[in-house]
Amino acid sequence: MTSVSPRPSSVWHVVEHHAVQTRRTLQTVLLSGFLSPVFTMLALGWGIGSQVDDVSSLGTPDYLHFVGPGVMIGTATLQGGFSSLWQALAALRWEGMYKNVVRSPATFTDAMTGRLVWMGILNALSSVAFLTVLLIAIGWSGFGALLTPFIAGLTAMSAAAGVLAFTSRKESGDGFSVVARLVLTPLFVFSGTFSSIDTLPSAIATVIKFFPTYHGIEVARDLINERAELVPSLLHVAVILAWIAVGWALSFGGFRKALTS
């Protein structure tokens, strides 16, 4: 049988295709991927942060150092997850983008891999802009901070992959708003974005640790605050990578059925 393993050159062509499409909606992408989280971070970090007297339990010099990385990774989760709902369904079924892709030398695995890689790149780029504002606000915090857009990109990919596993089996948008409200938004809010998960009931904190957003925030926060250690950081990244791998594998059947039956 023909190999269905992704081919790097074909994956890259899918990435390019998404990039050309995104040029048309750049303003919206910038607004949701950069300006919105920047405003959120500054409002919370400076606004609410000024009301926080004691940040010693947070382990950061001030609240902005705490909430900045949280908002960066939380936003990547939202962006990645949302992109795998209506947009992904349109590309897979309604608008036929991926049906065209599989009529070329590319395969359905190139299409799904390219989509996830593009989400990683887009969110990493948005995070570079976000990081620039954050570093202006908190000051230079070391070279480790420069790795945080990479973490944001991976987290976005993991959220995109997880949701794509759901969307790839759908023929309509039924249930999408439930995923958005009951999965993505809570992940953004409760993954340690605005406060330590230690403040949550232990059962909820345990569940939160299962998801990639928490791990992305932990790594990004450690990097921004110059306290990252190699092994724990790698373990956090491993969880994120596992989500990407599992999400990819679970999307495989849905993409294959939609594009090659």
Binding site: M1, T2, R7, S9, S10, H13, E16, H17, V20, Q21, R24, T25, E95, G96, M97, K99, N100, V101, V102, R103, S104, P105, A106, T107, L259, T260, S261
Partner: protein, 302 residues
């Protein structure tokens, strides 16, 4: 004889439904070959297997000398596929639709741009290069779809119902473009349920029904083998009937009667001699529709 496509016992099943039931095909390089049949005949399923998008359930399929089961990427790199629905990138311009798609075939951006310029000329869309697709008419979208399918200068072009939904002018323009491709030596595999389209474009064809091939040959040979040179179409009053012992093959349809005779005028005289004066009569030459009716007992387009 150089063959572009050979299929043996090609079968496609979807659970219990058999869409294509063990068909054999041989398509010669450079010819235009049509799959003719009603909706649900198995044409599109066959096309999707030949485009190596949908794997056969069983059977052997060789395309451009390569096994479809093992060389999908290589085969698709030499195919141009024009699907039933245009599926263009509505948010992109005409030009971007071509260049973006060309990249999938390994072309550099400069190659893609050069090809796009030539293809826009071929499709008579040069003045629309910067137009966004969502603002274009159906005919222009169809021409762009055809242009996009040619970005890789394919050896084999697959056209699935290429003119469905087009007005007569747009249809004729497309036929002209397809004839140009044929002149360039490009092999074309076409599905259609329009008999005139098949007669106009195809060198050879098969008629499919219920997932099987019920007839094959050139349009003229199929007509000569399966039916008479002319057909007399009659519309009768409600209280009129025709004798069952007419010396012609007769098909009674919902609102007309078809009488197959090599000399339609003589057949009409014979009917009138029997004392039957139809409300209207028409003598025409036999078409592939008549072949389909003769082979299956049903009309091609219901």
């Amino acid at each position: 004889m150089d063959l572009a496509v050979t299929a043996h016992e090609l079968t496609k099943r979807f659970d219990d439904f058999v869409a294509v039931n063990g068909i054999d095909l041989e398509i010669r390089s450079g010819e235009t070959f049509a799959l003719l049949g009603p909706n649900g005949a198995g044409k599109t399923s066959t096309m999707r297997m030949v485009s190596t998008v949908s794997p056969p359930t069983s059977g052997a399929l060789t395309i451009l000398g390569m096994d479809a089961a093992t060389h999908g990427r290589e085969i698709r790199g030499r195919l141009g596929v024009i699907p039933q629905e245009d599926q263009l990138d509505a948010d992109l311009t005409v030009y971007e639709n071509l260049t973006t798609y060309a990249r999938y075939f390994g072309q550099s951006w400069s190659e893609a741009k050069q090809n796009a310029t030539e293809l826009l000329e071929f499709a008579q869309l040069t003045d629309r290069a910067d137009t966004r697709v969502e603002t274009m008419s159906g005919g222009m979208r169809r021409r762009l779809t055809i242009a996009r399918a040619l970005v890789n200068t394919p050896d084999l072009v697959l056209l699935d119902e290429p003119t469905t939904g087009l007005d007569p002018q747009a249809r004729q323009l497309l036929w002209d473009r397809l004839y140009e491709l044929k002149e360039r030596g490009v092999t074309q595999l076409l599905t259609t349920h329009y008999m005139d389209e098949a007669e106009q474009l195809a060198d050879r064809l098969v008629i499919m029904d219920g997932g099987e091939i019920v007839a094959s040959g050139t349009p003229s040979s199929l007509i000569a083998e399966s039916t008479t040179a002319e057909v007399l179409e009659l519309r009768l009053a409600d209280d009129q009937t025709l004798s069952h012992d007419l010396p012609f093959r007769t098909e009674v349809l919902r609102n007309r009667v078809l009488i197959y005779a090599d000399d339609g005028a003589a057949a009409l005289r014979h009917i009138r001699d029997l004392g039957v004066e139809p409300n209207s009569s028409l003598i025409r030459r036999s078409t592939l529709e008549d072949v389909f009716l003769a082979r299956t007992g049903r009309q091609l387009v219901d």
